[in-house]
Symmetry: C2
Subunit: 550 residues, 2 copies
């Protein structure tokens, strides 16, 4: 127990209640105005002050590394980061963990919620850092990179705290022995961290995807080495700086959290995770390295989120305009660079039942493409929704998809009014037949949408389930007015291990996953082996050692 | 809900309380007399009736397989078992799981506790089956193979039931939107089984080690294929028969549990676990195949228990006679064929503090060997404690150890008065120096005991921790009157990921692990990656699929 536990006890208790009730709750406001009048200008200034100079961290290091961090908006980052070796950071982490590992779960939770509080105060700075490095719009970067990520972190702290409290206090165990004296033994269970944890960050949502593993590991007593994606470093550097300051202020060794940067030409992640001291690995990113981790790292617990192929199944609806309004937003926001963005829209060749009438396939497909075109028709509005394209690979993928014979909507290049060097592209929408699996049943990360003509909704569900099983999937969205289709869709989603939403036509988009209520990834298809956040995600992050004394 | 849930609801609720309180509790009496006057004779007759004929099971199969099951007592088993193919059993399991997987956790728990109840009534038959196939004494076979195994099964059912109840009932989620209408979404979480489960059995404690995984998988809705050790089949065949009868009576497809037997010359375990439908693998057995499973089975959750090198650290004591009395029993019972038996006894070269005086190393070592010799001096008493040796490999290991220059106690061959063909050997006790790590720092499963001379208790702890880290360990037993040594021993045990007991001199032996209180294996060293039973052991056996409806 300590002062910070007392300070944040109410928040922790509310979070513990929230993970069980799973109704709406949030600890960190998503409305920018909640942060005060000065926050926007102060945050922007703080971000600007980071640019063009070395990012100083008092962790063990030898000079600075000139990295290859990129800004899809063309912002000149030019930030060097401390150049540390794996051994330096492992040694620092192990030293730091001795005291932290024996600290009570209460005290650890208090210190960690203080970290979240200080990061919350930096939400505008973080928003700019996430926007600049990922290509998100400012509002998305602010919300997903700031308060939503902090809610996910708090959720992970709450789960980890709860799991550590499932064992009783030291006790005396007494076993009757008939007429003889009972066996009497004092028992206690010592909870200790598993070892050095590593988080390997993703380039698109570093904080939202990274915080759960980082804060779960810390809450369980483990030190964490953060290895950001080489193209998106600044958000984690800010987080590490703030966390280290809180640890120092609270009397703990700041090497509990350190930053290990690398470049695409000299990657360090494999050497880092294969270090025998590493006991936990959290990963978000492409399937190839994620699968390598799952298959090769046997000495550590490995938690992955690798994305996949998400599906929309259009069976029937009351009003197609409502459907298209919701779909056109969810399939274009941040140019499809979310692991929850739908890629494939399955429509029966025979058309869609709408209010008792059948709308032919071609009309539906053309209507959908027109809805996207309309939504993105105004450049200024379009850039706010699309953000910018993070990598050249994504641009190349758009161009590849555009060579199809059946392009329903061409991708346009848009000049960003504020960032002349930004790469902004509208999505390409391509019509394919269900038989053309090689084309659409693969992950085409970015603003590439396939409209797939199927035999029937049954086939749509089968194909969506097949792609979930084989390529992974995180989200499904089904439009139907038929209860029997709803039931089969739930069965197919269960079989495919993918969350499913029905008939979203309002302000909720299938891409969105709310902390304290929605689980992100099920862990039961190739999209990842873990779920944010469930008990299985945290229960393996600490050891329980039984001690018996006569 | 069903009748069986109502029938067993009290038992389930007591078990749920017990896993949280962890004080002494047992649902199945360990005293043979609790089973009634006729039980011993009836059970023996039931066992005898199994011998020399095919074991009939109404599962999919083509004829019978002549197996190579062995009896360390030389009992002629001569039982053939149904010859099923992997595909037959996978198909049967998948069909059976459709209804079972959608059955409520309450109803499943009710049916499964009914299985345990019927197995409890067969405890004498099971005792004879376990004794005959494993070489345990009858009392150990009865207790560990019957009621203790059933308690472990009930514990696993309770944990799995509890984990499935951590999500709320279907609910409406409402997120405020400032002045706009709130976002309102109906949410529910569908819990479904992960897939086909496989249990790969061990030759020594098939039911005690196998039941937790089997019943956890079933409680989570998964069908289970049981692949017994080729030399120890009958106990699982009885369990499968009884479980199938209960499923049938309760209106479920009995192919929820099936038996797949093989022979050492034509093993099927690798093909079975690599089948894409297999989603869960539980394994108890030698390190080599367990490590192969951990490193090669990526499409399924793998839970292993592989044993290792257990240690006794003798630092100081009030009375050495008390120490030796306890140690001589725990290090000889069932001829060291328990994965919890201590193998190495570390003693400082400078001697042991006993009541203020130092007893020289040689006196301690000789005294320990004499205590074992005395305990096993009477052949009839010795065979009751030692049981019989399961494999020729163990006999060969005794002979290899006996070639050492420093044998403190020779192994004797004993004629069993009731079973003339039984292989009964007393342990060999060998003195080694701490430097001779190649000799003692390897698993020598069976009645082989090393007395290791160390520089100090500090070195004893370091060596024990090294062997736990490198070879795995399940139990440590420390004798000390020094609080500082107690503290360092707990630290070393935590580091090695091994449970530790102190100063056992009474009727509790370090080998014993009580259901509902002691965790068996921590999962944090090479002795195994799972713990019987903790939340992590059960939480991955089912999927949670989120369903959102507007």
């Amino acid at each position: 127990m300590n002062d910070l536990y007392d300070k944040h006890r109410d928040t922790l208790e509310q979070a513990l209640e929230a993970i069980n009730k799973r109704s709406y709750w949030s600890a960190f406001p998503e409305h920018p105005k909640a942060y005060g009048e000065d926050a926007p200008a102060d945050g922007e200034a703080a971000f600007e002050a980071r640019l063009g100079k070395p990012f100083s961290l008092d962790q063990p290091h030898d000079g600075y590394l000139a990295v290859e961090e990129t800004s899809p908006y063309g912002i000149e980052l030019d930030i060097d980061y401390p150049k540390s070796s794996i051994e330096q950071l492992i040694d620092g982490a192990q030293d730091a963990s001795v005291q932290w590992g024996k600290t009570s779960p209460e005290a650890r939770a208090g210190v960690l919620i203080e970290v979240l509080d200080r990061l919350a105060a930096q939400s505008f700075e973080m928003g700019h850092a996430v926007m600049a490095t990922t290509g998100q719009s400012f509002l998305m970067a602010f919300q997903a990179g700031g308060p939503h990520a902090l809610d996910r972190a708090l959720e992970a702290i709450a789960y980890t705290y709860a799991e550590q409290h499932r064992l009783p206090a030291p006790m005396t165990w007494e076993k009757p022995q008939g007429k003889r004296e009972p066996l009497v033994i004092d028992k206690e269970w010592v909870i200790r961290p598993r070892g050095v944890a590593v988080t390997i960050g993703v380039s698109t949502f570093p904080t939202w995807n990274g915080y759960p593993g980082i804060f779960a590991s810390l809450a369980a007593g483990n030190p964490v080495i953060v290895k950001p994606h080489p193209a998106t470093i600044l958000p984690f550097a800010i987080m590490v700086e703030t966390a280290r300051a809180v640890f120092q202020d609270a009397g703990f060794d700041p090497n509990l959290v350190t930053l290990l940067t690398d470049t695409p030409g000299a990657p360090v992640a494999k050497d880092l995770v294969m270090h025998p001291a590493v006991a936990i690995v959290d990963y978000t990113g492409g399937p190839s390295f994620g699968t390598w981790l799952e298959e090769n790292v046997h000495h550590a617990a490995v938690y992955t989120e690798k994305a996949g192929v998400n599906s929309v199944i259009l069976d029937s609806a009351d009003d197609l305009a409502d459907v298209f309004r919701n779909l056109s937003v969810s399939m274009t926001m941040y140019s499809g660079q979310m692991c929850t963005t739908p890629q494939n829209l399955y429509i029966p060749r025979g058309g869609v039942q709408v209010g008792g009438e059948v709308v032919p396939f071609d009309d539906v497909a053309v209507g959908f493409a027109a809805a996207i075109d309309g939504l993105l028709g105004d450049d200024e509005r379009a850039v706010g929704l699309l953000g910018a394209i993070k990598t050249d690979e994504i641009s190349a993928r758009i161009d590849e998809a555009a060579t199809s014979a059946n392009v329903l909507l061409e991708s346009r290049q848009i000049d960003h009014p504020a960032f002349p060097k930004a790469t902004v592209r509208t999505p390409v929408v391509v019509k394919v037949d269900a038989a053309d699996r090689d084309t659409y049943m693969r992950e085409m990360f970015g603003p590439i949408i396939y409209v797939v003509a199927t035999e029937s909704t049954d086939e749509s569900l089968q194909l969506a389930a097949q792609s979930a099983r084989e390529k992974g999937a995180i989200t499904w969205l089904v439009y139907t007015t038929d209860d029997a289709v709803t039931d089969s869709a739930i069965d197919a989603a269960v079989e495919g291990g993918v969350s499913v939403a029905f008939n979203l036509t309002g302000g909720l988009y299938v891409n969105q996953s709310a902390a304290f209520s929605d689980f992100h990834v099920t862990g039961h298809n190739p999209a990842g082996n873990a779920s944010l956040t469930d008990p299985a995600f945290v229960a393996g992050r600490f050891k329980v050692i039984g001690v018996r004394k006569q």
